[in-house]
Symmetry: C2
Amino acid sequence: MKAAGCPLCEASGGASVFEGPRFRLVRADEAGFPAFYRLVWTDHVAEFSDLSRADRHLCMDAVDEVERALRTHLRPSKVNLASLGNAVPHLHWHIIARFDWDPAFPGSVWAPAQRNAPAAAIEAVEALRPALESAMAGALARPGNRTPP
Amino acid sequence: MKAAGCPLCEASGGASVFEGPRFRLVRADEAGFPAFYRLVWTDHVAEFSDLSRADRHLCMDAVDEVERALRTHLRPSKVNLASLGNAVPHLHWHIIARFDWDPAFPGSVWAPAQRNAPAAAIEAVEALRPALESAMAGALARPGNRTPP
């Protein structure tokens, strides 16, 4: 179920946090946004509604686990969730911890930057990432999150 | 479970398509995007992960119904889903039919406009909206979409 030429079929799309049979979690390298994750569905499907109901629930339970870990470990101003895929139509969820000091807040991460993120604030988040990502991987590795109920 | 001063507790947020006890669906008035909907959770919660598992599934089943109706009736280039809430932290899902002629495609709707949408294309979508919105309301009114299982 791979598509030739699809960037998310042919490469991971970021730094691996969790790899399972149905989906993976990667950290994206987006300047100014130190906790920008993507949950990438393994099969090449374009739209959320291409999934079965069981798979949609499996997928969003995983998104929820990632969001909970972000909230617990980073206490962000807000969490942003988005499945767009206009450029890369392979189902993936952006799960992004937003901070009031980040380049675009309160705009979306796709809006023009309003400021430079302070280096000390970014470094503080980066220091928390190992524990954060360990917690994410642990939560996602639970059997219920890997196969439909 | 309302919050004083919250725009989505105090007003509908758009033209009503469906109103239920747990959530409502409204059409947003966003220039150049003629099929831009918002599913607004009734209770004032900020984050998706503030919902119970049953409510998260209920919510995303409804998002899925809206997406399916958009695909069936409009055959968009892509559907975009997003829960951001940086400016209005009351849980709402943007559910947007995107077209390759719309102002920002393939960028997000929050990215700078790249073009003016052709009036004829917008009018063609607007002509399909009554049937689309009737189908959305019908799908969302099903008992399973109104109360947790």
